[in-house]
Amino acid sequence: MIPAITFKNNGINFKEKAFKKTLTLSAIVAVIILIAIFFTLLVNSFPSLKALGAGFFYDKTWDPVADEYGALPFLVGTLLTSFLALLISTPFSIAVSIFLGEYYKKGIVAETFKNVIDLLAGIPSVIYGFWGLFVLVPIVRIIEIKLNVPPYGVGIFTSSIILAIMILPFSVSLSRQVISMVPDHLKEAAYSLGATRFEVITKIIIPYTKSGLFAGLLLALGRALGETMAVTMLIGNTHSIPTGIFSPGNTMASVIANEFSEATGKIYTSALIEMGLFLFVVATVINIIGKQIIKRFTL
């Protein structure tokens, strides 16, 4: 708590007050920034909200020529890539968190892997996209030729793999934290009854950390939904609803990146901002729920 001491010296008193005011003011600024972000998005989405209404979310055609803006293909693309990425990365992220949270908590091995995972988080999105374009795309194309689907190389599948790599460190850092919070006496009790490590992990640690692991996944999902650059470079940028995991598509974030700087016309721009608003709201809800779960878990 900030102590309520008053000083007789006026100069100090003034500085004291100014300092405390600055502290409070800065906290207010943080809150105002967030509210302002929300309202800027909301106000700028009004033209599209008014003109398109709920049709924005179930209309299939995004046709700037005819002034028709249905975001369903991008909604589908966003959900498909994010969930697919989650599906691919979850087994690995849980394995890595068990590795770091249970098997190798300390020592050189743990430190090395921890640093590697941290670095994985540090690589910029645009470099993931660049690498994906030149290394992953040709590989996916070979697979596609084998499977006898159009060999685009880019598409939902390719973006999901890159997304999976990108969200892995994020969910690892959360789940590792959660796993290392399991009380030792629980584990020791199980060991003393003759349980193997495998049994301790599957019967004690995972059930105990269930909600925390779920929160980790949720937050990773939030991360995947808004990821922009790598996906823009790898998804194929088409406006039709993806018909399979190998077909090209578009996510909400990639449409904004592609079209925001050139959208002419009020409703066009506004429809893009409405997608931004949607991303903002979804990310915020996911974030708050995830953090609440983690907070409850760690307390």
Partner: protein, 358 residues
């Protein structure tokens, strides 16, 4: 520590200033005296980007004026000009009457060169293919799906076409190149005219999107069995084959300086907003277009100084005269004399308040 306290009010003021102006594009920009004094900012079409990039590089060397041109697509050029965030826009698609009426002030089009949109494919051996308008439309409509389709094979008896799926590559951003290409397809195919239609960004029936002429050529080079449309220069610089197209007169024509110039040999309107596609000229290439720089007719806006307005007009004047020789060097057709005359007249009409700038 004073520093920390001083930054906070600064941020708050900046923030307050920003949030009140956020929803009002007509608002005067804030005071920034040297805003345009040491450089010109333009943005738009990727179609003439190699040309502008070369001319502006030379211009900087000759006159010491830095022209920053960002190739973000024609749609972007128009939008950023309308939002008054750039000194000039650039577009290959002339602005429609509707777009002009929605702009905050009158805008003029100044043609800078002639370009051709070519069809390029990524096939083994890089063959030069021949297409009729019908086959081309059917490919881009997604109706012809394989390279060894009899429709394509009968036009190209000497080429061994593989049993490969056709991957269509189109633009993902608002593009003048797309406008020119779809303008052509709308003229030659009733079906195309009814469904995707013409525009800077279309609701494509099939294919992959890439950003800019750069992105489309990049993706075509990467994707075996792909077909796409780009400006001639991009194909020349990257050694990609350009297909021959059957024009209105029934001849198969390749895109060259001569065949582009032939297409432009028509009576030009005073405002230069004209479509050159599907030309009637016997040796004319059917998908050509002028590309334009866009300026506000009255350069006095947003605290713009007369000097910066003059600098912008001088630059455009340079591009339509001395700059023309670089167009030819790169593979664009220079402006015909008639077009230069019209462009000069348009440029003379650009004013700063009541003052003329030339």
């Amino acid at each position: 520590m004073k520093f920390k306290k001083s930054i906070l009010p600064l941020l708050i003021t900046a923030f307050a200033l920003a949030s009140c102006g956020g929803n009002n594009s007509q608002k005067e920009g804030n005071q920034d005296s040297d805003e345009n004094s040491n450089g010109i900012l333009g943005a738009g079409a990727t179609f003439p980007y190699p040309f502008y990039s070369k001319v502006f590089d030379i211009y900087n060397k000759e006159k010491g004026i830095k022209v920053n041109y960002q190739s973000i697509g024609s749609g972007g050029g128009i939008k950023q000009l309308q939002n008054k965030t750039v000194d000039f826009g650039a577009s290959d698609a002339p602005m429609s009457d509707e777009e002009l009426s929605k702009s905050p002030a009158p805008i003029v089009h100044i043609p800078t060169c002639l370009g051709a949109v070519i069809i390029t494919c990524n096939l083994p051996g890089d063959p030069v293919l021949k297409f009729t308008p019908e086959v081309l439309a059917n490919i881009f409509l997604g109706k012809v799906k394989k390279w060894n389709d009899p429709n394509i094979a009968s036009l190209n008896p000497n080429v061994k076409l593989p049993d490969l799926a056709i991957s269509i590559i189109h633009r993902s951003d608002g593009s003048g190149t797309t406008y020119i290409f779809s303008d052509y397809l709308s003229k030659v195919s009733a079906e195309w005219n009814a469904k995707p239609g013409k525009g800077k960004s279309l609701n494509w029936p099939a294919g992959l999107g890439a950003k800019g002429n750069e992105g489309v050529s990049g993706l075509i080079k990467q994707t075996p069995g792909s077909i796409g449309y780009v400006e001639l220069v991009y194909a020349l610089q990257n050694k990609m084959p350009a297909a021959q197209l059957k024009n209105k007169a029934g001849n198969f024509v390749a895109a060259t300086l001569q065949s582009s110039s032939a297409a432009a040999n028509i009576d030009l309107p005073a405002d230069m907003r004209v479509s050159l596609t599907n030309t009637a000229a016997a040796d004319g290439y059917p998908i050509c277009s002028f590309t334009y720089l866009l300026l506000y007719k009255d350069q006095k806006y947003n605290n713009r100084t007369e000097a910066s307005a003059k600098a912008t007009v001088d630059l455009v004047n340079y591009v339509i005269h001395d700059g023309q020789k670089y167009a030819e060097l790169l593979g664009y057709a220079p402006l015909p004399d008639a077009a230069v005359k019209k462009a000069e007249a348009i440029l003379k009409s650009v004013t700063y308040g009541d003052k003329t700038l030339q």
